[in-house]
Symmetry: D2
């Protein structure tokens, strides 16, 4: 029998994805982790055995619909969607070709569109829901070396804002978290071996902030919030 709420984490990797899954599991949610790469899913499953894992390519509407159908079948209707998928395509316009430019948009923006299109009927039939998109400072600022990433993140942000205005009155809470800084995962530590601990955002702390916003009462919903390490220069 399905009693707990269901949370889907899209774009589950060893950083935010795992921490979000762990946090929402710990708070009593049934958690589905979606990722494209089966090996990543196997690793996540071994780190968080309570989670349910599903292969999904969010840039394909068919793949997305199938994964969400499977989630519903296994865990019941979806209450919370945390969209963490995002291709980090970095570099200036000279470094990025049209294909990579498009890939950044497909993963960050079109994937969010596809997932949200797919979960809306569920949330509507339940009288509400929560969708939080994991964003970045690049959504608010087009840096010289972020031609593709900043463009895709801005597209994702404005989509989120449009949805927040459109879906709020249906009690579907849309929020966007602007992550400003480098997340503490093995890959970033290896790339920046000289940085002290406090340089990094702890993904567990990000997950706590996301969880807090997901629990807000509807009289005072947050749409946008930023997080950064206390010692970040910004």
């Amino acid at each position: 029998m399905q009693t707990s709420k269901t949370c889907v984490v899209v774009g589950a990797g060893p950083g935010n994805g795992l921490s979000l899954g762990r946090k929402f599991t710990g708070e009593g949610y049934s958690v589905a982790l979606l990722a494209r790469n089966p090996k990543n899913l196997a690793n996540l499953k071994s780190d968080l055995p309570e989670a349910h894992t599903f292969e999904c390519d969010v840039t394909q509407l068919g793949s997305t619909q199938k994964a969400f159908d499977d989630v519903r079948q296994e865990l019941g209707p979806i209450d919370t969607l945390l969209y963490n998928a995002g291709a980090g395509v970095f570099g200036s316009i000279d470094d990025v070709d049209a294909e990579a430019f498009e890939q950044a948009w497909r993963t960050n923006t079109l994937g969010a569109f596809n997932c949200i299109k797919t979960v809306l009927p569920d949330m509507r039939s339940q009288g509400g829901g929560t969708i939080i998109i994991i964003g970045a400072t690049a959504a608010k600022r087009g840096g010289a070396r972020f031609a593709a990433f900043a463009s895709a993140k801005a597209a994702q942000y404005n989509l989120a804002q449009s949805l927040a205005r459109h879906l709020g009155p249906e009690k579907i809470h849309i929020a966007y978290i602007v992550i400003d800084g480098v997340i503490d995962i093995p890959r970033t530590r290896q790339r920046m071996p000289d940085k002290p601990d406090e340089f990094f955002l702890d993904p567990n702390d990000i997950a706590d902030a996301v969880y807090d916003v997901s629990q807000q009462a509807p009289s005072a919903w947050t749409f946008e919030f930023d997080v950064r390490p206390y010692c970040e220069t910004w």
Copy 2:
């Protein structure tokens, strides 16, 4: 013996001020409520007997320093400052004279400057602290009928952002909450008798959101977050 943390709420009235005081009291803080008007303070004291009340005109540096000295004497060093003072001077440039225009700035902006100047030594000597400023959408948008209020709130917002950048590395967390909508207090209910309940922000929900941010781990501090009712048109 002083064991609990001390939270000062500046600009304490029957809405946010009381709810913030109640929330932080409930979470174990010693709470000082500061207001200019002794009658308001007496009402607050009767609503929240655990709170400590202090008269203070934040637009006067001397009055501010005296009030904070009294708080320290009674409750020990200050950990958390919640700045809620704010003169709501509304109208276009045709409705507002130079005096009212100045008053809006003195209460919203200069008062925040004075209070923060005054608590900084305390927070520094303790190795950190938390300052959250209660702002409004007018900080981000100068509407036609908000010549004074939007100007003052923008001044308050940019001051807060400057402080966040400057004080973050000293582990002093500055945050700014953008309240978008009308708060549910007797005065606003009387002015808008036809509005349904869900039109209003519940100040207790605002206080919950402020409290969540005040407890964030320093690897993922929020500077800015907005709150509005789910059915708000924005």
Copy 3:
């Protein structure tokens, strides 16, 4: 012999495209008008016989490269690029399917990327150039009924900002005009027959503003500017 400067207007229709073409022609530029639709091009040619017209589908890199090669062959190296292409896909997420959502991005954002990629070598070999992108308020605000358009325009805006930072030092001036309102063309007049003249933006006035920015001295280049009718409510 090629003596005048060459300006390419991409996305030439009966509004901004024609007015930009006319303005830059009048100021002594050789003007190339690019559009996908041959019938539109024929109409433009009859309205502005001095212009040179070229078929081009900017969402296809190959088509874009061919069109710009033809422009260069006929008119010499390109000094100024005015990007006016933009699919106006309107409606909330409920009104827009994944295909239309993608089309909005391809025309507004990917097309700009393709054109700019293509002209950069020209501008670099000449030691500079000017690129002005015709944007809209939706770039800065995700309205409920603008899920696709606001997302695409934000993507376009952040791309432009990244380019401005990256290419400024090479004396390539990138600017973004935020058009706030409805442009006066036969189609909009028919759709809004009751609106008075002053409700509309005159595309000739937009062209004047774009021209002014294109002529700025490099010590004081504008990146972003908005235009709206004096009586617009915003």
Copy 4:
């Protein structure tokens, strides 16, 4: 007999003030230069003998009203107001005391309020007018070392935006120029002797940009525009 239009430049010094005065004089305006310091005015008069100079402390409403009365008496009703007054109070909250914090606001913000209050009847009786405020990037971003300046400039910006919305329909054009960088005047050159020419904004180029916006047709008015040197890092 008064035939030319009248332009008032408030806060006239050797940089923007002089350049604005020269530009508008050259374009046929009668120009009044207002400053607090009589010695500055004498220097300006010797640099630009066609200008009319008036002493004025814009932080005092009485002084402002008297100066504008004198301008009107000498040059006729005022068409254009360029507000360039601004105290550059720099430093973090630790460097700035309450008095300096207030001074920054009085000069940048209250002074603009006083001047605009004073010219509005003139502009209304003539059926329109133009007011352009000389702003800075600090209006949009509160840097750590700009506690007072960024707060005052944000207050000035939001005031301007409120006025633009309120006064546009009366054909009074309000615009705000965001200057991003260091202006080329003797004082800044002395302070930064190692910087190359292209590091600086030429105030004559700023004046050209301001003039362009002042001449826009009312169907396409700009409210906000930025200017920066082509090689500025931003």
